[in-house]
Amino acid sequence: MTEGKQEKKFTPGQLAEGTGAAGKPVYVAYRGKVYDVSASPLWEGGRHMEAHRAGGDLSAEFAEAPHGEEVFERYPQVGVLAAAAPSEAELAISPGDAREFWFRVLQKAPLLRRHPHPMVVHFPIVFMISATAFTLLYLLTGIRSFEVTGFHCLGGGVLFTPVAMATGFFTWWLNYLARPLKPVVIKIVLSPILLAAGAGGFVMRWQNPDILGSLGHWTGLVYLALICTLAPLVSVIGWYGATMTFPLHEERGP
């Protein structure tokens, strides 16, 4: 924009008009600046990578982008985003000592802003899936060490699941204001079930190392059922986590 020229101020409503639909321009806002990205083939139709929509402020979503903010240099800035009044939800929040404390921590260690949960969840996901996989591998091959590895993986999964739950709660409280988002609710419901199934299976196997040798007995069958539920349970939890980290919105209906 020309130096000294009065910048156009976009209200959220005006910005939302820039959807690219019906010949309208494609506007996106980033860190208070509004850009016209109509010329970008990657924003054709007002959608980008099936993940982002035009007509909104992308500042928060940008953290997930696999490119830097230099991409905006290719497109004209057409104005600035008018400061919006805080939403009711934001006004309702009393930051309090806890959030102030964490704000200071985040200033010193920006890594904590997002990374702890995505880092920790690797472990329960892989260990729980491996517990199922190695146990089934044992049943298929009869090689005893596969069963023992399944048990070790189960132990790793049980150890790391509470840590993943704790960091997930922290991220939810800090970044999503503890709002009851659908993926979070599903994760909150399923994670304790996963932990209970994993811990139950671990204790059963700990007390009876030959439990899989007694598949004709109910305890062996219960143990096998518990182990076999781990992989689908953790997959569903991981899936909903992934939809939050890499949101891909479905097509709107006609």
Partner: protein, 195 residues
């Protein structure tokens, strides 16, 4: 105002401003597949690397646990984890290259370059250790002389995979562009300033 430029016209007029080359030159099969399954654009790599990271770290951890306890089953678990890590690494590298080709403009970002080089080193080190352990089951039991190299390889897997995933994490979650949540930037007492 003149007639608005279509994206295709913009591409023809200013190719230097275009996005990823891959976006413009997708083979029809890839384009059709991605249109049908848009999640394939970004999900496969983050999903697969979960396995590589955890298996590689576990290979080191269980080997050390074996050395600490003498419990042979930990050595077996370390070996299986190493094998699973080696198996999962080529798909992780392949999906990483595909994701980058699809989503990044132009040439590889420096961080992604580093991640790629480290991945190849990790694959070489882990594969060598796996073959060694497969050929000599007692290698950690007779820990002397040349067998110390095996221990070094297994120990090297952890810093290698940590560094690789750290740089991968920086590509996915770049710190410099991660804004602090808005409710934390509006704290009283002037504390809430964007970093």
């Amino acid at each position: 105002m003149g007639k608005r430029e279509t994206p295709k016209q913009a591409l023809a007029n200013r190719p230097e401003q275009a996005g990823p080359a891959s976006e413009r030159q997708l083979p029809p099969l890839v384009a059709r597949t991605l249109a049908r399954f848009p999640r394939l654009q970004r999900y496969p790599h983050p999903f697969i690397i979960h396995f590589t990271i955890v298996y590689m770290l576990s290979a080191t951890f269980f080997s050390l646990l074996y050395l600490a306890t003498g419990d042979r089953s930990f050595d077996d678990t370390a070996f299986y984890c190493l094998g699973a890590g080696v198996l999962s690494l080529p798909p992780a590298i392949a999906t990483g290259i595909f994701t980058h080709w699809l989503n990044f403009p132009g040439s590889l970002h420096q961080t992604a370059h580093l991640e790629k080089r480290l991945s190849y080193t990790l694959l070489a080190v882990a594969a060598a250790a796996f073959v060694w352990r497969m050929l000599d089951r007692e290698v950690l039991q007779n820990l002397a002389g040349v067998n110390l190299v095996y221990l070094f390889l297994v120990l090297a897997v952890t810093p290698l995979v940590t560094a690789t995933s750290y740089f991968g994490g920086m590509v996915t979650f770049p710190l410099e562009s991660a804004p602090i949540p808005r409710h934390l930037t509006n704290l009283p007492n002037g504390k809430g300033k964007r970093l």
